[in-house]
Symmetry: C2
Subunit: 335 residues, 2 copies
DNA sequence: TTGAAAGCGATACCAA
DNA sequence: TTGGTATCGCTTTCAA
C-alpha cells in the first residue's frame, strides 16, 4: 500500500530515481538501485498500474477477445497467449463475447476503447467495417488467431487445404459416399473458417470426380451434442447412407462417432470419421484427424504483438500454421 | 481518442459535469446529460481507465486467478463469472497460473498487487499464509470458487458428501469391489478438493462395512489420459479386479471408461463407472455422475464480490452449491 | 445544477 | 547519476 514517495523517503532519493531504479532503466548506480529495491521490497511497494498507465501511456496489458471460453480451440490458444504474456510481464484482459451480439458492442465500446490495453488479439472473429475502423483509430497493434480477416493479419491454418487433405484421405481409402459435418454461420464469429473447410471438401470431391450430395452436407455448430443430433437425423433418413464423414472439427467428429454408435454402426467398419484439430480427446476416441497446434498459434500471435510493442517493425503478412494428418482407428476403406 | 475536455468544450459545460453526466450521477439536468451524451458519442469519447482509475481508486475490473484455462470446470466457472461481470460493466483480468510455481509468485507480486483490480476471485487455489496476508493488506474483496480455503469464504459443492453419495450409488447397486480414481496433489492447487472426495469415498465404504483396498485408490491427475493410463495399469495387475470405479471427476471417469474398453471390458456389465461434474461430454459417454453447476458457482461468487463493491455488507459464510445424481448407462449391478 | 481547482500516483523531460 | 517538476486525464470536493 506504500506509494513511491515513501520509498523515495526511505531511500533518500527522489521519486524519479525510484521509478528508474525499479523499472531497470539505465543511468542508476548499482548502489542506489539496490537500496531502492530493498526499500521497495520492505515496504511492499508495487507501482499502481493506473498511475503508471496514465503517465506513460502504456498499460502493460493485452486484450484478448474470445467468442467463448469453453471450446477446446479457444482454451488452447489462450494458454499459448498467456505463456507469452507471462514471459513479458503483461497482464491479460479477457473480453468474452459469450455468444451475445449485444455484448459484443459493449466490449468494443466500453472496454476496448477505454485504453485498458496496449494491444489486441482476437480469436476467430470477424469484424464489421465500423469495428475495424475503431480498431484503426485506436492505433493498437492488432492480430487475429484462427481464420483470415479482411484487412487484418492473422495466425492460423490454411482452412481450405486442410479440409482438402482430410477429404482426400477418405477418398484415397476408397470412399465416395462422403458426408460433411460443418460449422454453421455463428453470429459474429469468423465465417471464413467453416466456409474455408467446406470449400476444401468440395474441391477435393470435385477433383476426384465425386458429386457432393447437398443433403449430406449438414451443420454441426462446432459442438458435440449438435453434431450428434444432426448426424443422427442424417442416418435416420431412408435411402443410402454415407460410408464416411469429414467433420469440420474434432468435437463434431466425436458427435458423429457417437451417432454412429446410436445407430449400431461400427467405426470405422461401417462409417469412417475424420476431424480437424487433434483435440485432447481425439486419441481417446481413436479419431483420425488433421492436427493443428492452437497453443503455438496463440503464442506466435502474442509474440508478434509484444515485439511490435517493443518497437519492432510491424509484420504485415499473415502466418500460416502447420497441420498434419494423424491417422488413428476411425478411418478405413469402405466395406 | 477525444478527451473529456473536448467533450466539455463541445457541450459548453465543465469537465466535471461531463464526468457526472456520463457516469449517470444525479444532479445533472436531463437536458445537459443528453447533450453531453450526444457530444461524447459523436466524438467517440470513452473515459480512459487509467485516468479514472487513478482519480477514483476503482478500476472497474475484477481479477480472476485460475490454475489453468483448459479444464472443463474452469471454463464453466469463467463463463459464469464473465456473465455477471458483463452485466456490471466490469472487465476481467485473467491471471493464469499455468501450472508453474514461479509464475504464481509473479501473479501475486507483480500483477495483483498493482491495483489493477477491485476484487479477486480465485479458482480451486490454496493460499500460503504469506499470500493470504498480502490479500488482506490489499483490502480487496476476495472469494474462492471450488474447494474450501482456510480463512476465506468460498462457493462450491460439499466435496465429501458428494463423493459419499456417488460411492453409495455404486454400493446400493451391490458393488463391493470399488476402486477410486482420485486427484493428485497438484502443486498449489486446492488439495482440499481431492482430499474431500477421497474422504467421502472412504466414509461411504466404511459405513457400508466394506474394506477399502489401498491399491485400488489410484491417482488420475484430473485428466483423461492420466486416468486412462492409471486405470489400465490397475486392470493389468494380476488378481481380482474392481467391478466399479468412483472417479473424482468426469474427465477421469472418461479415462476409466476408455481403459475398460482397452481391456475388452464392457461398461457397465463388467465395470460400472461414476464421476463428478456432469461434463458436457458426460451424456455422450453415457456417464452416471454427480452433476454440479460451475457456471452458477462462478456467477454467484462474482455477484457476491460485485455486491460488496457496490457497498453491500460482506458475507462471511461460504456458499454450498447443489449437486444431484444423474444416472445414465455407465452404472449397473455387478454380474 | 454547475464550475473551479486540487488532487490521484506515477513518468519523463530538462537541468544540475 | 540524480533531482525538480510539469504532465497524464479524470474524479471529487467545495463554492457558487
Amino acid at each position: 500500500m506504500a506509494g513511491i514517495e515513501e520509498v523515495a523517503r526511505a531511500t533518500g532519493v527522489s521519486t524519479a530515481t525510484v521509478s528508474r531504479a525499479l523499472r531497470g532503466l539505465p543511468n542508476v548506480s548499482d548502489k542506489t538501485r539496490a537500496a531502492v529495491r530493498r526499500a521497495a521490497d520492505e515496504l511492499g511497494y508495487v507501482a499502481s498500474s493506473s498511475a503508471s498507465g496514465l503517465a506513460s501511456g502504456r498499460t502493460l496489458a493485452m486484450g484478448v477477445v474470445v467468442p467463448s471460453v469453453s471450446r477446446w480451440f479457444y482454451t488452447q490458444v489462450l494458454e499459448g497467449v498467456d505463456a507469452e504474456l507471462r514471459g513479458a510481464s503483461y497482464d491479460m484482459i479477457l473480453f468474452n463475447l459469450g455468444g451475445h451480439r449485444g455484448d459484443r458492442e459493449r466490449v468494443f465500446h466500453r472496454s476496448i476503447l477505454r485504453k485498458r490495453t496496449d494491444a489486441l488479439l482476437a480469436l476467430c472473429l470477424d469484424f464489421t467495417p465500423a469495428e475495424r475502423e475503431q480498431l484503426a483509430t485506436l492505433g493498437h497493434p492488432t492480430i487475429v488467431v484462427g481464420g483470415p480477416v479482411k484487412g487484418l493479419r492473422s495466425v492460423g491454418i490454411d482452412e481450405t487445404s486442410t479440409a482438402y487433405t482430410a477429404t482426400s484421405h477418405l477418398i484415397s481409402l476408397g470412399h465416395t459416399d462422403i458426408a460433411h459435418l460443418g460449422g454453421e454461420d455463428e453470429e459474429g464469429l469468423n465465417s471464413q473458417v467453416p466456409i474455408g473447410r467446406l470449400h476444401g471438401f468440395n474441391d477435393a470431391m470435385r477433383d476426384a470426380g465425386i458429386v457432393v450430395r447437398p443433403e449430406w452436407v449438414i451443420p454441426g455448430g462446432f459442438s458435440l451434442p449438435e453434431s450428434r443430433a444432426a448426424m443422427n437425423r442424417l442416418l435416420d433418413r431412408p435411402g443410402p447412407r454415407p460410408t464416411a464423414v469429414f467433420a469440420g472439427s474434432d468435437e463434431m467428429a466425436f458427435g458423429a462417432i457417437l451417432a454412429a454408435g446410436d445407430h449400431g454402426l461400427r467405426v470405422p467398419e461401417d462409417l469412417s470419421v475424420i476431424g480437424i484439430d487433434d483435440h485432447d480427446y481425439a486419441a481417446g476416441f481413436g479419431l483420425t484427424t488433421m492436427a493443428q497446434d492452437p497453443f503455438e498459434q496463440g503464442a506466435t500471435a502474442a509474440r508478434i504483438l509484444l515485439d511490435e510493442l517493443g518497437g519492432a517493425e510491424p509484420r504485415v503478412s499473415s502466418v500460416s500454421s502447420p497441420v498434419s494428418l494423424v491417422v488413428r482407428s476411425s478411418t478405413a476403406p469402405p466395406r
